[in-house]
């Protein structure tokens, strides 16, 4: 392969993210990492499920969870998943501007999600006195949801760094895999959230 990694509409490979060996490696590496993350979150979910009734006299999930906010958060995150799909669509069509536009929207939605989550925690702590130390349930709840939130923060930082770095240089075979792996990671965060809203909030509300 030549040293020139740049990409123009004429010579665009079908899958720019996997066109180079480095790209293919990154692609697989991230997928494998997600396999490990599955177990990581499973351990957290398992811990949460084991401790979800251990409220030690403090508030239970049924007492405090409010569905409206969670619904809003879910919509934000699901939509951000779609917008990152759009971004990848434009990457395949080699339309860098549109790709960045959709990624920008993704970041925006992600930040919205995060803001809601921070508000939610704040609300539990101040209005219900429900903290990380209240009970085993509290510890497990904040740890599980917090780990997810941490992943969102990390994903956002990654995305912003990528966008800032590449704003002026456009798409090429060197950075295409980076964008693509980010999108995979972002979808995975969404996957985890689907289980969180189901297992923690909805099942918590049902009792």
């Amino acid at each position: 392969m030549s040293h020139d990694h740049s990409l123009n509409p004429e010579t665009m490979p079908q899958e720019p993210e996997k066109a180079t060996l480095e790209g293919k490696n990154k692609f697989l590496g991230l997928w494998f990492f997600l396999g490990g993350e599955t177990v990581l979150f499973a351990s957290l979910f398992g811990t949460y499920l084991a401790l979800r009734n251990s409220t030690a006299g403090g508030p239970s999930g049924q007492d405090i969870f409010g569905l409206e906010l969670v619904f809003l958060m879910t919509m934000l995150l699901l939509t951000s998943s779609l917008t990152s799909v759009y971004a990848m669509y434009h990457m395949k069509n080699n339309d860098f501007k549109k790709m960045h536009l959709w990624l920008g929207i993704t970041a925006f939605l992600g930040i919205g999600f995060l803001a809601c989550e921070i508000y939610e925690f704040y609300h539990y702590i101040t209005d219900f006195g429900f903290t990380f130390r209240s009970s085993a349930f509290g510890s497990a709840f904040y740890t599980l949801v917090g780990f997810h939130g941490g992943h969102v923060v990390f994903g956002l930082s990654w995305l912003i760094a990528l966008m800032v770095r590449n704003a002026k240089r456009g798409l090429n075979l060197y950075n295409a895999p980076k964008y693509y792996t980010f999108s995979l990671y972002w979808h995975f965060i969404d996957v985890v959230w689907v289980f969180i809203f189901t297992v923690v909030y909805l099942m918590g509300k049902v009792g």
């Binding site: 040293h3 697989l28 494998f32 351990s43 130390r133 740890t143």
Partner: protein, 617 residues
């Protein structure tokens, strides 16, 4: 960097070279040095243990120190000695075996090593800072939550950091094997050591996250007042046990499978026969890994999980005897009808077979739940796992080191010293651990600082301690051998053992780009096939061309250093707010390095065709 730069340099440059290297062969050296250092440390701890137990009611070391001793012995040996030594062998050999120029992520490879190293150093700093962890390598809660010194905090952060390194290493190997095999190297032509590397990496990928979570929970309980294991607030200490063993049992197969891989290389080579039942060996490896995830509760038979769980896990555990048996018998069948050369590498492999079989068999005995009510937490268990770990893993490491030493360092280890060392170690090993089966059954629990007088345990313990000294002498002889070899060792040809796999097709030690031209693989044991066709070299699969190489980088070192510093911050912030500063500084260094890495493009460099042509073969 060009080839000319690889000439003799000053010590500073040499050190800088190793600090920044991303070459898998040099990283392998680093792993071997790091792992070897911790092996000696763990071995010395073992000697303290055994000296304390040489006589009843001995007071060579105090009760608290004894607990620290075996905790650190177990932790060090498993996480900081055995695993890194195996990762070292994998790094040195696997890319060569599959005909690759490097691993998939050279940068991450280096990061993995430095994280391990700094994690290990962090853990061992506890010795000098108020006390090492003292709740066993299993750190069962709530004992570990209540442990008053910072020891457990060092345990948590040390393992967290080095565990991250291991995980990175695992993913790296997986991707390397998937994408970077030489042309013609199908999965079913891959040497068994590469196969076991692959399967082991999968185990790492799925097992370590459970430990990560467990360590986080423990850390939160100890440092931030959460209540996972606090019974008063509804916590449950058995969660820790599950998380630990969901990791812990696969971990023991993470240790043994690469050793199986080593034997699957050594035995065919020195029997001059291809591995008997190759396909079965591959599937047995996968089956062991698969079953390995479904048996963890055999460490918890006495926890009170109830008869249903105990029965299920007992049967699942016993099932592992079957694929392991397939392996043992295939090795025997490989030797059968062969032409066996017994040198020191082969001796370790031959010593392994009966020793490991005993250990595996006592494993199956342990799996019989009701019998385990007697064995559990007694010296019978200690005997079992040293038989599999020392008789399997440590023997495997020694076999691998003797076998690949010429490939890695360009010198052949001295045979005479090798053989003396083997026999001393072998005798010492059985002397130390065989008697422990009976000690356990005679009523000696493990993790006992003293055993009492007049309980019939004196002779057994005495013999056991004597054996340890033989092992220590043997280990020292091996160290002498290394030094002797470095000074006077004989320089090997590329293929000193009439080898069968690709690593023997290139010079010893290999040039930093490994293969000038990627070889064309025509079957299992590719080099052997070519030799049988009367050629002494692999057929190249590509014309000579430019070779792309990654640049070295100090960032992995810096990043790991950052986490190391932050680790201290986390540990001591419970004492004083000011330590939060260390967290910020450390994380700043680490995240800053990450940012530099992602913002600065690094395209590597190329060795030109002309330069390659100038190089002799």
């Amino acid at each position: 960097m060009s080839i000319a730069a690889a000439q003799k340099k000053g010590f500073g440059a040499f050190l800088w070279d190793y600090l920044t290297t991303v070459d898998h062969k040099k990283i392998a050296h680093l792993y071997l040095i790091g792992g070897g250092f911790f092996f000696i440390l763990g071995g010395l701890e073992a000697m303290f243990i055994r000296i304390q137990l040489i006589a009843p009611e001995n007071d060579f070391i105090s009760a608290g120190l004894y607990n620290e001793m075996f905790t650190m012995h177990g932790t060090t040996m498993i996480f900081l000695a055995a695993m890194p030594l195996l990762l070292g062998l994998m790094n040195a050999v696997m890319p060569l075996q599959i005909g690759a120029r490097d691993v998939a992520f050279p940068f991450l490879n280096s990061l993995g090593f430095w994280l391990f190293m700094f994690g290990g150093i962090l853990l061992n700093c506890s010795w000098f800072l108020g006390g090492a962890p003292d709740s066993g390598w299993t750190a069962y809660t709530p004992l570990s939550v209540e442990s008053p010194t910072h020891g457990i905090d060092f345990y948590v952060l040390g393992l967290q950091i080095s565990g991250a390194g291991t995980l990175i290493g695992g993913i790296n190997f997986l991707v390397t094997i998937v994408t970077m095999r030489a042309p013609g190297m199908t999965y079913m032509r891959m040497p068994l050591f590469s196969w076991t590397t692959f399967v082991t990496s999968t185990l790492i990928l799925f097992a370590f996250p459970a430990l990560t979570v467990g360590l986080f929970l423990l850390m939160f309980d100890r440092m931030f007042g959460s209540a996972f294991f606090n019974v008063a607030l509804g916590g449950n200490s058995v969660i820790w046990q599950h998380l630990f063993w969901i990791f812990g049992h696969p971990e023991v197969y993470i240790l043994i499978l690469p050793a199986f891989g080593v034997f699957s290389e050594v035995i065919p080579t020195f029997s001059k026969k291809r591995l008997f039942g190759y396909t079965a060996m591959v599937f047995a490896t996968i089956l062991i890994a698969f079953l390995g995830f479904m048996v963890w509760a055999h460490h918890m038979f006495t926890v009170g999980l109830g008869p249903v769980a105990n029965a299920i896990f007992a049967i699942a555990t016993m099932a592992i005897a079957v694929p392991t048996g397939i392996k043992i018998f295939n090795w025997l069948a490989t030797m059968w009808g062969g032409s066996i050369t017994i040198n020191s590498a082969m001796l370790w492999a031959l010593g392994f077979i009966p020793s490991f079989t005993i250990g595996g068999m006592t494993g199956v005995m342990l799996a019989s739940a009701v019998a385990d009510y007697q064995y559990h937490d007694s010296y019978f268990v200690v005997a079992h796992f040293h038989y599999v770990i020392v008789g399997g893993v440590v023997f495997g490491i020694f076999a691998g080191l003797h076998y690949w030493w010429p490939k890695m360092f360009g010198r052949i280890l001295n045979e005479k010293l090798g053989k003396i060392g083997f026999w001393l170690f072998f005798i010492g090993f059985h002397l130390t651990f065989f008697i422990q089966h009976f000690l356990g059954l005679m009523g000696m629990p493990r993790r006992y600082w003293v055993f009492l007088e007049d309980q019939g345990l004196d002779t057994g313990n005495f013999i056991s301690t004597i054996g340890t000294f033989l092992m220590a002498i043997a280990a020292t002889i091996f160290l002498i051998n290394i030094i002797y070899t470095a000074v006077k060792g004989e320089k090997p040809a590329g293929d000193p053992y009439d080898g069968r796999t690709l690593e023997w097709a290139i010079p010893s030690p290999p040039p930093y780009y490994n293969f000038k031209q990627l070889p064309l693989v025509r079957g299992l044991d590719p080099l052997w096939i070519e030799k049988m066709d009367g050629k002494d070299k692999m057929t190249p699969a590509e014309p000579l061309g430019d070779v792309h190489m990654p640049n070295g980088s100090i960032l992995p070192f810096a990043m790991s250093l950052g986490f190391f510093v932050a680790g201290f911050g986390f540990i001591y912030q419970t004492d004083h707010q000011a330590w939060n500063l260390a967290i910020f500084v450390g994380m700043g260094i680490a995240l800053g390095s990450m940012l530099i890495r992602s913002l600065k493009d690094d395209h590597g460099y190329h060795i030109s065709k002309e330069e390659l042509e100038r190089e002799a073969d």
